[in-house]
């Protein structure tokens, strides 16, 4: 199982914070599992059962410090019929901790639908429920995912990009009371990943993306976010380098307004032997209201000295000089603010296809 935080060195372990857990009486139990098993055939049936045992016996829900889950109620689930010939050993190989082990196991034991994608172009529409997705890219794939949730969604996504294959992944995640995205992406030698991640609104929006990188792999990951109201967006992007000559760039950019809060964690984890890699991360948050909050935890963990590794994080209010300059060109203040905000998301808008672009544009136009 791929853990999110691995802090050890030559047999010496650092003490890693263990999140307190809550064991809820309202958790899914054997009765819900039975309903899920009734709708499942093939190798996934036994796998579901196995994952449920770990889910039910070993894990409670996390009591996070930065993103409280108070008020979260698990929805009643309605299961689709699933009969897929899934390689269980591959699922096990791609097993991971995610935002919290409980949520990964929730996705594995109680998925309402299980989807498998391969090469080609795919549009995924996500709604309320528990989804489990497996993507295997042999040569080239493009995934456009748009998620619009009302109450609750938990997603587990395992992606394997095989040797020298390429994946373009556009992820648009809007609204929802409680949404949890747990993605584990494995890049084999020479594989390429380009990811654009846009998350907006929502009461509690959690997105954890862990990318495991082999030799010569390349990752260009850009995260865009917007939060307002009283919502909290909790994001973690982790690139784990396990091979030479790999490249990984992570750029985060977003806006927080109202009483909203953004938590942005960008982690570059360079394992020994990953010589001559380039690992870069930069994150900036624009804070638009006196009540809004931002927390950034950019981390570099480096076991190899023949590397170029750097990160930066910053926050600011609207730049008065920028505003003044635009207004001196005859544009009123409200419109000038809109232009500045739009500038943050302009790269993303340029890259999006019509299938999801409209939704993102609607959000950007609402910001100021």
């Amino acid at each position: 199982m791929e853990k999110t935080l691995v802090l050890e060195h030559d047999g010496e372990k650092a003490v890693v914070w263990e999140t307190p857990q809550i064991f809820s009486e309202n958790d899914y139990g054997y009765d819900v599992l039975e309903k899920a098993l009734e709708k499942t055939e093939g190798p996934l049936k036994e796998w579901r059962r196995k994952k449920f045992l770990e889910y039910y016996k070993e894990w409670g829900f996390p009591k996070w410090k930065r993103c409280s889950l108070d008020g979260m109620v698990l929805p009643e689930l309605s299961f689709n019929h699933v009969d897929l010939d899934v390689d269980i050993s591959l699922l096990e190989k791609l097993d991971f901790e995610g935002s919290h082990r409980k949520f990964v196991l929730l996705g594995d034991a109680f998925f309402t639908d299980f989807k498998i994608y391969g090469d080609g172009k795919h549009l995924i529409r996500s709604e309320d429920g528990v989804e489990n997705v497996l993507v295997i890219v042999e040569k080239e794939a493009e995934i456009h995912r748009i998620s619009k949730v009302r109450r609750f969604r938990n997603t587990v996504m395992r992606i394997l990009v095989k040797r020298n294959a390429t994946l373009k992944f556009i992820n648009v995640d809007l609204s929802g009371d409680f949404t949890f995205d747990n993605a584990f992406i494995v890049l084999e030698e020479g594989a390429k990943l380009s990811m654009r991640d846009f998350r907006a609104f929502g009461h509690r929006k959690v997105g954890y993306v862990l990318v495991k990188k082999s030799k010569l792999s390349e990752t260009d990951m850009r995260s865009y976010f917007y939060q307002n109201g009283t919502g909290i967006t909790d994001l973690l992007y982790l690139m784990r380098f396990e091979g030479e000559e790999a490249k990984g760039r992570l750029k985060g950019n977003g806006v927080v307004d109202g009483f909203g809060k953004i938590v942005f964690r960008g982690i570059l984890d360079v394992k020994r032997g990953s010589k001559n890699i380039v690992a870069e991360e930069a994150e900036h948050t624009l804070i638009l209201s006196p009540e809004a909050r931002m927390e950034a935890i950019p981390s570099l963990w480096v076991d190899e000295n023949e590397v170029t590794a750097s990160h930066s994080a910053s926050s600011s209010s609207l730049d008065e000089n920028q505003l003044f300059y635009i207004m001196s060109r005859g544009i009123d203040e409200a419109e000038a603010k809109k232009l500045i905000v739009r500038g943050i998301f302009s790269d993303l808008l340029d890259e999006l296809e019509e299938s999801v672009k409209g939704d993102v544009e609607d959000v950007v136009n609402q910001i100021v």
């Binding site: 950019p298 590794a309 750097s310 926050s315």
Partner: protein
């Protein structure tokens, strides 16, 4: 050809031959604490505080982050050792064998040359304390903590463990129970002390703990620089250092606190340092951490007053077998406050340097500015270097920035220097010195030389 500095390792790794007058049995209990308190002739409130701290210590869990302390058996640590030496007010009064220990560290020489005062602590007690007469006339109080508790009980009570309460963490509670030694420095309003004051802490016994408590109170408009030095000979058993520093910077005052820590490689250094700064005050931390087996240390500054400032500059060295978990904390509580953190680390020979920081800008800290910069130099690929800064911003009217980079010495830099006639070793050494120069230049000249020597010694041992 560059002239080589002749290094004398023995200077930092010798065993003082000092007799002990009293050595507490290992472990920790109420009886021992009462005994220590009685021996120090403390007022009742201090004994109560010690016993309350012991109760809290027993209830507290170990830190849930940082270095692994499972090897540290507090039941085996000797918490109190009184050397067989009365505190001397003049160097002549200090027993010969104690003098020899501090002579070798250059303390009396430093005092003569450029210190306004010095305190020297051996194991659990201050054995020598002196301050320039003219400063005494100005009302400056520079005393060992025990004497301060007895002579200025109300003043000490006002500040003692108010910034770091015994409920703060397990080792704060431990410290509150068995603290011994340390310095009380009080600088009256508008007194600017032109030369630094120094305290030097030396652990001479195997298996001991040193728990000195330092309080600095800089009244309105005053200025002071304080230097702390630490060392110990190496034994095969674990030593523990869990000291505490509390600094109160009043309106418009300036305090600079310099540390050069070279604890032996069998020491757990679990120290707590905190300062609070009032309006227009300024606090500067400068630290060179070279020694210890494992360290957890995050000097903290609370910017409480409008326009107050904090600066923290540190160099951390992690050599073979060392795990250094260090960093800084700055909390902005007031408008127009500013802070600058510059943290550098060098890791080699399998050492692990970990930067852990917190920068918090609260809702009230409008128009504040904060900048954090981390740079890590890895001299081989056996070592590890990590950086985890936490940034929390609760206002839209603040500029906050953080940058970090990790890498090795560039081949081209080494090649260039070698083409000018330097050996590879000399070239590396010169680059390392350049890397730490921003911290070193903040130190008084003699200390800068010392830190450079220590670094050169460590690097020579590992890659020489």
């Amino acid at each position: 050809m560059m002239e080589r500095i002749i290094l004398d390792d023995s200077r930092f790794n010798f065993v003082p031959k000092v007799k002990t007058a009293y050595k507490a049995p290992p472990g920790l209990n109420e009886r021992l604490i009462e005994e220590i308190s009685r021996a120090k002739n403390e007022p009742e409130w201090m004994l109560k505080h010690r016993l309350e701290s012991l109760r809290i210590f027993k209830e507290w869990h170990n830190p849930r982050f940082g270095v692994d302390i499972s090897e540290l058996d507090l039941g085996k640590i000797v918490s109190y050792i009184r050397p067989d030496a009365k505190k001397g007010a003049s160097w002549e009064e200090v027993p010969e064998e104690v003098k020899e220990a501090f002579d070798r560290l250059g303390i009396p020489e430093a005092e003569k040359k450029y210190l306004a005062g010095v305190g020297a602590q051996l194991d659990s007690e201050i054995v020598y304390q002196n301050i320039k007469k003219e400063l005494e006339k100005l009302g400056v109080i520079f005393l060992d903590m025990e004497s301060a508790v007895r002579e200025y009980p109300d003043l000490v009570k006002e500040y003692f463990m108010k910034l770091v309460p015994n409920t703060d963490h397990k080792f704060a509670a431990l410290h509150g129970a068995i603290w011994s030694g340390g310095t009380f420095l009080y600088v009256p309003a508008n007194v600017k002390i032109p030369m630094p004051l120094q305290a030097y802490f030396l652990m001479s016994n195997p298996g001991m703990g040193q728990f000195e408590h330092t309080i600095i109170v800089a009244e309105e408009g005053s200025e002071v620089t304080f230097i702390e030095g630490c060392s110990a000979p190496r034994y095969n058993v674990i030593n523990l250092h869990a000291g505490m520093v509390e600094i109160y910077v009043k309106r418009g005052a300036k305090v600079k606190y310099l540390t050069i820590q070279n604890w032996s490689k069998n020491t757990y250094n679990l120290n707590t340092k905190r300062s609070i700064v009032e309006e227009e005050g300024s606090m500067t931390w400068v630290s060179g951490s070279l020694g210890s087996y494992k360290t957890m240390l995050y000097p903290m500054t609370i910017l409480k007053g409008k326009g107050s400032r904090a600066e923290s500059m540190s160099i951390t060295y992690a050599g073979p077998g060392q795990h250094m978990d260090t960093g800084s904390k700055v909390v902005h509580l007031a408008p127009y406050t500013s802070s600058l953190v510059s943290a550098k680390s060098i890791s080699l020979g399998g050492g692990w340097a970990f930067y852990r920081g917190l920068l918090k800008i609260t809702k009230e800290a409008v128009n504040s500015k904060a900048s954090v910069e981390c740079a890590a130099l890895m001299l081989d690929n056996k070592s590890k270097s990590d950086t985890v800064p936490i940034i929390e911003v609760e206002t839209d009217k603040a500029d906050v920035g953080h940058e970090a980079r990790i890498g090795r010495i560039g081949e081209d830099q080494i090649f260039y220097l070698m083409s000018r006639g330097l050996s590879e070793q000399e070239a590396k050494s010169m680059i390392v010195k350049g890397f730490v120069e921003p911290v070193v230049k903040e130190l008084p000249f003699e200390y800068a030389v010392e830190l450079n020597k220590l670094l050169e010694l460590e690097i020579e041992k590992s890659i020489g």
